[in-house]
Structure formats: structure tokens, C-alpha cells
């Protein structure tokens, strides 16, 4: 493979990467600098993102280009603009109107997502047959016991006494095994991110640099 000298982009990215890594030693001015650039750029990015991907194609172009058919887009336009009145203290209360519509809609959608999309199918997923051969039945039993005991552990209306005490304990054990799995996966996830950065530094920046300097 032809190795080209790192371009200006790679140099900038490598510098910022090293700045961020310097936080591991201790908080320092290079880290603060890189972080400030990042914060500024990310807010700028949001503006461009919203304008290019949503506001332009979904609002301005249809509204101003085809007002006859798309006049109803005035409603979300107004509701959107009203949101910003919260920065004018005297009119801040008006912005609550569109905030109310916004929150209301998502709350309604969320209710259905949770009940129809999670609780019903997850409950159904636990209704497993217990007559499907020894090993599959055993596996099904593990799932059923796990779900039931965890739900009982999270049951607050009666104290964990009598039969509930050992049941809730089993629930905790299931939770702990699951947290263990979670931990194992978290390690993999975090290490992946490090691999990504080191691969960039080594393969996109340092390696071409070394090859360039010593003629490969």
C-alpha cells in the first residue's frame, strides 16, 4: 500500500488526540484548550446539522417554495420560534406553550412505546413452555425464575419477609450475574475506543510519518 505523508487534517487530529490524552497525567492547559475547541465546534455543528438536514429540506424549502400546499408548516415554525422567547424574561411564559406541545407529544408516544413495545412483548417472551425436552426446559426455567424473582425484588409494597426473602435474594443473584456481564462488556467497549484512537495515531499518522522520514 502506498503510504502518503500525513495531511494537515491528520496533523490537526493527532495534535488534538494527544492533547486529550494529556488529561491522564493531570488536568492541564493543553487539555483545556482542546476541550474548548471541541465544545465550540460541537455547538456550531448542531446549528449546521439542523439547518442542512432538517430546517432547510423539511421546513423552509417546502414552506416558501410551495406555500399553497404546505401552508400548515407555519404551525411548527411558529411553535419552534416561540420556544426561544424563554430568553426574553417578560415573554418567557409564552415559550412554555410550545414546550408543552413538544413534551406532551413525546410523552404520549413514549407511553405506547413502553406499554405496547416493551411490557407486553417482554411479558410474552417470558411465557415459555416447560415441556420441550430437558435442556431447553431448564433454560426456559432459568429465564422464568430470573424474571419473576427480579420483579419480586423490585416489589416495594411488602417487606422482604417469609417466602419473599429467599425469592428476592435469588433476584439479586440474577441481577449480579447480569451486572457482571455488563461489566465485562463495558471493558470491551471502553478498550475499543482506545484501540480506535491508537490505531489512528499509529496507522494514519505515525506510520506514514516514519515511512516518509526514513523512506519506508
Amino acid at each position: 500500500m502506498e503510504l502518503q505523508l500525513p495531511g494537515i487534517g491528520e496533523w490537526v487530529a493527532a495534535f488534538l488526540t494527544l492533547c486529550a490524552f494529556s488529561f491522564l497525567y493531570k488536568d492541564n492547559i493543553l487539555y483545556r484548550f482542546a476541550e474548548s475547541v471541541f465544545v465550540g465546534v460541537s455547538f456550531g455543528y448542531y446549528i449546521g446539522l439542523a439547518k442542512i438536514n432538517t430546517l432547510e429540506p423539511n421546513l423552509f424549502r417546502p414552506l416558501f417554495g410551495n406555500f399553497g400546499e404546505q401552508w400548515s408548516l407555519i404551525v411548527p415554525f411558529l411553535l419552534g420560534v416561540i420556544l426561544y422567547l424563554r430568553y426574553i424574561p417578560k415573554l418567557a411564559w409564552v415559550s412554555n406553550w410550545s414546550l408543552a406541545v413538544y413534551i406532551g407529544y413525546y410523552i404520549g408516544v413514549n407511553l405506547l412505546q413502553r406499554l405496547q413495545g416493551e411490557i407486553l412483548p417482554q411479558a410474552k417472551g417470558t411465557m415459555l413452555p416447560l415441556n420441550v425436552g430437558l435442556w431447553p426446559t431448564l433454560c426456559n426455567l432459568v429465564v422464568i425464575i430470573g424474571v419473576v424473582t427480579v420483579l419480586i425484588y423490585f416489589f416495594f409494597s411488602s417487606p422482604h419477609k417469609g417466602v419473599l426473602k429467599p425469592t428476592a435474594r435469588i433476584g439479586i443473584y440474577f441481577l449480579m450475574i447480569s451486572f457482571g456481564a455488563s461489566f465485562g462488556y463495558t471493558v470491551m467497549g471502553r478498550v475499543s475506543l482506545l484501540i480506535g484512537r491508537l490505531t489512528f495515531l499509529v496507522n494514519d499518522w505515525a506510520r506514514p510519518l516514519v515511512h516518509g522520514a526514513f523512506g519506508g
Binding site: Q116, T126, P129, V148, F156, S182
Partner: protein, 424 residues
Amino acid sequence: MSANSISSGVVCPGGRGSGGNTAGIVRACTMRLNLSLACAILAGALLLAGAVVSEVIAAPRDFRLDLAVQDRPSDDGSSLILSWSTDPAVLTLPTGVVLEDDPQIFIERKTEGAVDFLEAGRTTISAGRFQDIELDSRESYVYRIGLQPATGGMVYSEVSMAASPKGNLFRTQRVNALVAVLMMGGLVIAYIMAARRGAKLFIRRISGLDQIKEAVGRATEMGRKILFVPGIVSVSEPQTLAALGILGYVAKLTAQYGTQLEVPNADPLTMASAREIVKQSYMEAGAPEAFHEDMVRYITQDQFAYAGSVSGIMVRDKPAAIFLLGWFAAESLLLSETGQSIGAIQIAGTAQVTQLPFFVAACDYTMLGEELFAASAYLSKDPLILGSIKGQDAMKIAILAAIVIGVVMATVGADGFVNWFTAL
């Protein structure tokens, strides 16, 4: 075509061809029959007339596909479902016409009165099914399928019976969700009302809560401070509110015992609320003079910088007890690790499941998920929180019961009960 039966505007193939969805079609037909009789007779008569007309138009056909049209059930009356036989035995082509494997087909549609067919879409013959959308429920439509043989030109199937899309009143397949919504709503509202009326609602003690007093006591004995971290997000997050509820309780204890308390914040709004709560608690405990604003400080909004400087506080001041309650992200492991290394009693709690492993491993007591909310309800006795926790509990019992019944049903092979939960 005479074998097809017409029932109030829907074409039902009389058991021929697409046998797989006959049950569905019959159900759709029965549903339609439930509509008012007058309407049915009128529409039936109209369509019978239409069928006669289309029979006349359909005359020049090249091959037969057993084309059937039906209304799409539980919709707003803007789509029809076209189905045809994918069985090669049914597909009788005119002599000389050769097709490639699974050829592309052109679905053509016209309103009944119109002269020309218009393309409605393309698919392949093996699909067996096509959904035509954005139709007008006041019109009735006929369909035919076109094929392009390799030899060129176009050959057409028979023309389907006429059908018009019908709007439905209720999506019958979502009745399970309706039951869930009504049940959940009813239970939560009922318990909140009961709590407001002052009904005594029992909630069990949460184990972490019992340890708070002990931790504060130990800090007092050792003469060291207590560090309370209320998560890193704003007060709009329920977990933050729950954490602040517990902060009120902790602050009251430290006021009584005369122990030092420090609350570093990552969010300015949370800081304002936390300061108010601590101040209030000190007044209620009769020690307003012991409160000073520096107890509740704002550090910085940045996740890692915040974690870094709170770890710094831990290492420098060596607090005897550390509370990590609320919404946490990746900084959970930094904070709990440092706390563990200085030997403090740590009480943690979050509903962020991915962060729980770190708390469980590094802290002495951890409130898992919902326990955080229950703990705050237990301490605050706020009827809103108390009532909704009871409502959730009641729903939990219903779900547990359903699961147990479902397991029995699945085992005896009665799948109807199980399948009801996700009827689509």
C-alpha cells in the same frame, strides 16, 4: 371469476389460490358484515354492477394469476392488498411466451369508470402480494398485472374484481395495548388519589437507607466530613429529584449531629435546588447557624473535569462517608474507585443500569434502579411519588400473574393466550 363471492364491497376468493390468508380474508369479510345493512346492500349492488362492467373490460386477457383484492384491515381506508397465486401451475401463459425466473411484474390500477390503466407499482411474481396505498375510499378500483416477456411487448393478466378501500373504526389488533394503557392509567391515578386523600400506603424499607444513619454517625465519631454527589444532570431528571429527596434527609442528620457536609455539583440548576434543600433541612433541624452556602458548590459541567476535581476533594479531605446518588454516566467508576481507595463508607444509587456494576463492586450499599425512587418516596412521603410507586407495584403483580398463567398456557399448548400479547 364467477366463483368469487361478493360480500359488501370486498372480494373474497372462494378458497382458491392463496389459501394461506383465507382466514384473514374471511375475518375481514365478517367484520365488514357488521357494518350497517343498508350500506352493505347499496355497496353490494353498486359493485355487482361494477363487476359486470369489469368482466366486459377484462375480456382480452393473456394469462391467469388468480388475482384477488381485499381491503387492508384496521387502516384509515387508503390502501388495498392485492394477492395472486405464486404457484407455477396456475400461471398459464399464451403459447410462445417465455419468461425468465421470477420475472418483474407491473401492477396496474384504474378507478372503475376510467378507461386507461395506470402503473401502481412494480414487484416480482414471487412476492405474491402487493399493497397499494394512498387510495381514495370513495372510489373503487380494479387491477391487472402486466408482464414483459423476453420476446418484447407486454402481456396482461385477468382484471381483478373491483374493490374500494374501507376505513375502520378501531385497530382491533391493538386491543391488547388499549387494555394495558387503561389498566396502567387506572392503577396509577387511583393510588395517587388515595395517597392524596391521606390513605396509609406501605413501602418497605430499602437496605441502603438503614445505613445512612450509621454512616453519618461514623463520620461524626471520626470528625470527618460527608460528601454527597447528586449525579451530573439537571433537576428535570427524575433520578436527580430522587437524589435530592435523600439529600434532605442526610442534611437533617448532619445538622443534628453537627457533622460537616459537602455537596459538589456538575449542574447549576441542581446546585440551586440542592442548596435550597440543605438550607431548609438545617432550619428544620434547628441549626440554621451551622448552614453556610459553601457547603453546596458548583464545580463544572464537564463530565471528566468534574470527576477529576471531586476525586481531588476525596483524596485531600478523606471524607468518612460518600453518597453517590442520582444520574451517573462513565464518571461513576472514577468516583467510586477513588472513594473506595480512601476507605470511606460509600452508599450509591442510580437507575443507570450500565453504571450499576461499578457501584456494586466498589460501594458498601447500592440502591438498584427503582430502589432509588422508592427510597426517596419512603423518606419524603410525597403522595405523587408514593402513589405512582404503588400503582407500578400493582401493575407488576398483574404482569407476574400474566406470566405465570402464560407459562402454564404455553406448556399445555394453548398459544392463543400467549399470542394475544403481541397481536399485530
